[in-house]
């Protein structure tokens, strides 16, 4: 096998946009495609689709240093050197979650992820109003703070440099910047998946995903994997394991509602307007409506 045959992929998204659903679907699709597949998915044991690109452990291993000894500004330009050998990992571990924007203000114009040997990126996006509501539950923040976060050009995850952690800083920027950074980059092939289409046109959307990722893509298999990973099914699976391991402390459950349109119901008109006025170009491009659009 050549490196190319064994390439790796990114599943990139702004947080709370359906990335985990995608990872669970891939895991289930691969599980079902095994000859001896039986039983059902265990959320806390089976969902291992490869390191998140911001994992300190992963970066330490790839760069050969303790990354705590570098500042985030020093680290960002180096992060793109991690991952070229990702194909050495097992089949299921070739799909790397990423919440970073493609580049950061510190990355010296370089991607913060490796593109060498990468076969492509699935960019998962969701209506920013619904992202705000989901962020609110996930981080236990009020909605006003979530709206500000989506509009903050310097927003990111793990921003503090005052203590260590298992992930490094992930610069995201404003929601629209994040989308454009991935969708318009020219270095790796991209498949854009709207969360809304994953819900409304599941079979079609996930079949396209399976084909893009060179995964088993017989329609019946894809539909079975989709059925097994529906939001209701995931909620049940989460109950079975007593809480998904990726759920933060204080967050009641990881798989919560999953539906679309919650933002329009829960955000105030002013909050929706604020989002739309700053994000309108990107929202319109991907057919997301604001409060003025009815």
């Amino acid at each position: 096998m050549t490196d190319q045959d064994n390439g790796y992929w990114y599943l990139a998204s702004y947080p709370k946009s359906g990335n985990t659903w995608c990872r669970v679907f891939i895991t289930e699709l691969l599980r079902l495609s095994e000859e001896d597949a039986e039983g059902e998915l265990n959320l806390n044991q089976d969902v291992e689709t490869g390191s998140i690109a911001s994992s300190r452990h992963w970066l330490d291993d790839q760069l050969g240093i303790n990354t705590c000894d570098l500042s985030f500004a020093e680290l960002d330009p180096l992060r793109g050197r991690a991952g070229e050998k990702a194909w050495l990992f097992a089949e299921g571990e070739r799909f790397h979650k990423v919440h970073d924007a493609f580049r950061s203000p510190d990355s010296m114009g370089r991607p913060v992820v490796s593109t060498s040997g990468c076969k492509g990126v699935v960019y998962i996006m969701r209506h920013p109003e619904d992202v705000a509501v989901s962020l609110s539950h996930f981080f236990s923040w009020d909605l006003a703070r979530c709206v500000e976060f989506l509009l903050d050009p310097m927003a990111g995850l793990v921003m503090t440099d005052r203590h260590g952690g298992h992930q490094v800083r992930q610069y995201m920027g404003r929601w629209g910047q994040h989308v454009i950074s991935w969708v318009d980059q020219q270095q790796i092939p991209v498949l854009v998946m709207r969360y809304e289409d994953m819900l409304a046109k599941g079979s079609e959307t996930f079949l396209e995903l399976a084909k893009f990722l060179d995964l088993p893509n017989q329609p019946e298999l894809v539909n079975q994997a989709l059925e097994n990973t529906s939001i209701d099914r995931l909620k049940k699976l989460e109950d079975q394991v007593g809480g998904f391991s990726e759920k933060p402390e204080g967050c009641e459950r990881f798989f919560r509602s999953g539906r679309t349109g919650e933002g329009a119901e829960k955000l105030s008109f002013e909050q929706r307007q604020k989002l739309a006025s700053s994000l309108d170009v990107v929202m319109k491009r991907f057919d997301y409506r604001g409060p003025q659009d009815g």
């Binding site: 452990h57 330490d60 570098l70 180096l78 070229e84 298992h166």
Partner: protein
């Protein structure tokens, strides 16, 4: 190497005599160097003089490795080479790079690679000593080893080795790097006068605690117990660990320890906490790691140690506990069951 001033600074660590052209205050100063097989030379050298190598499959864009040669390219800092288990060469990236920047990576990645070349068992761990016995805190970077080590230091434990720890075939922990690195938040919460502490590197909010602020041991010490650190907010997916957890395990304010009874699991834990496992693979030393780790788990008990997440809370609960006696840290039910399981 001949033009270098490597004899300028003499140190001893990991049972080796280290002659360096760059100051390494993290290591214990030695008065006189003796040339011999245990002498290691750290010196500047132009990377143009480093021979080309046909790097192993485990190499990465930053790391190039063959059995007796290891190279690290760290953009913005420099190039490093460890070879034949005796020499560490370095070249500054440019003149803006300070000695402090270089030595951070010389005494960690480069020295660790050299120790692996020499056939040592090198683990991601910090070792402390009390009453002539050593305990080893195992954990990945940022798992809280140094914070816990500082708390224990305040209870009379002395530092033997930090960050990377070497254990010899007799189960003795060798004195190594003797510095604790604390993040700003930890230093604040431990009420340290961080403004008086040297920075690990200029760009970081991380502080170095060194002797004389740190009480250290300079002789090898027998290893009595190994603790694998578990921070409470980390959810664990390991089946065996979930099974092992008993009453009291979910109390976020408690400090608890569970012995890892199955040697295979203990072995995996040690292997996972080897210092930079990729170095072992890239230099063809993985089998050596397995053999050494297997021998160690037969000799020394491995326990998982769950600690409260907050530094202040950790400090508080440690006051009434003794890490010398892991059984005293077991949750009640587990304490009763352990002997039967054994």
């Amino acid at each position: 190497m001949s033009e270098s001033n490597y004899h300028k600074n003499l140190y001893t660590a990991f049972g080796l005599q280290i002659s360096s052209d760059i100051q390494l205050p993290e290591l214990r100063t030695e008065v006189k160097a003796e040339a011999g097989p245990d002498q290691v030379i750290i010196a500047a050298s132009s990377r143009k003089d480093w021979p080309a190598i046909n790097a192993s499959d485990h190499s990465t864009p930053s790391l190039q490795m063959i059995p007796a040669d290891w190279r690290l390219e760290l953009e913005g800092i420099g190039w490093f080479r460890a070879h034949e288990g005796r020499f560490i060469s370095w070249q500054r990236w440019d003149d803006s790079v300070s000695d402090r920047d270089l030595r951070t990576f010389l005494v960690s990645s480069a020295l660790g690679a050299l120790l692996i070349q020499r056939g040592f068992l090198v683990l991601n761990g910090t070792a402390l000593v009390k009453d002539g016995k050593a305990l080893l805190l195992l954990g990945s970077p940022a798992s809280g080893k140094s914070t816990l080590a500082w708390c224990l230091h305040q209870q009379g434990w002395q530092l033997l080795s930090s960050e990377l720890t070497v254990i010899d075939e007799q189960g003795m922990v060798l004195p190594g790097m003797q510095q604790l690195k604390l993040w700003y938040d930890a230093a604040e919460e431990l009420m340290l006068d961080w403004q008086q502490l040297p920075l690990v590197r200029k760009a970081l909010k991380r502080y170095a605690i060194l002797p004389p602020d740190l009480s250290v041991v300079s002789e090898p010490m027998p290893l009595a117990v190994i603790y694998g650190l578990n921070r409470r907010e980390q959810k664990d997916k390991n089946k065996e660990e979930v099974k092992d957890k008993e009453e009291g395990a979910d109390d976020p304010d408690a400090i608890c320890a569970w012995q890892v009874i199955r040697q295979q699991v203990a072995l995996l834990q040690l292997r996972n906490q080897a210092f930079q496992p990729r170095f072992y693979r890239g230099m063809g030393k993985e089998q050596q790691l397995f053999i050494q780790a297997a021998a160690l788990v037969k000799r020394v008990e491995v326990h998982r140690l769950a600690l409260p997440d907050g530094v202040k809370l950790m400090k508080k609960v440690l006051k009434d506990k003794s890490l010398e006696d892991p059984v005293s840290l077991a949750p009640k039910q587990s304490q009763a069951e352990s002997p039967e399981e054994e």
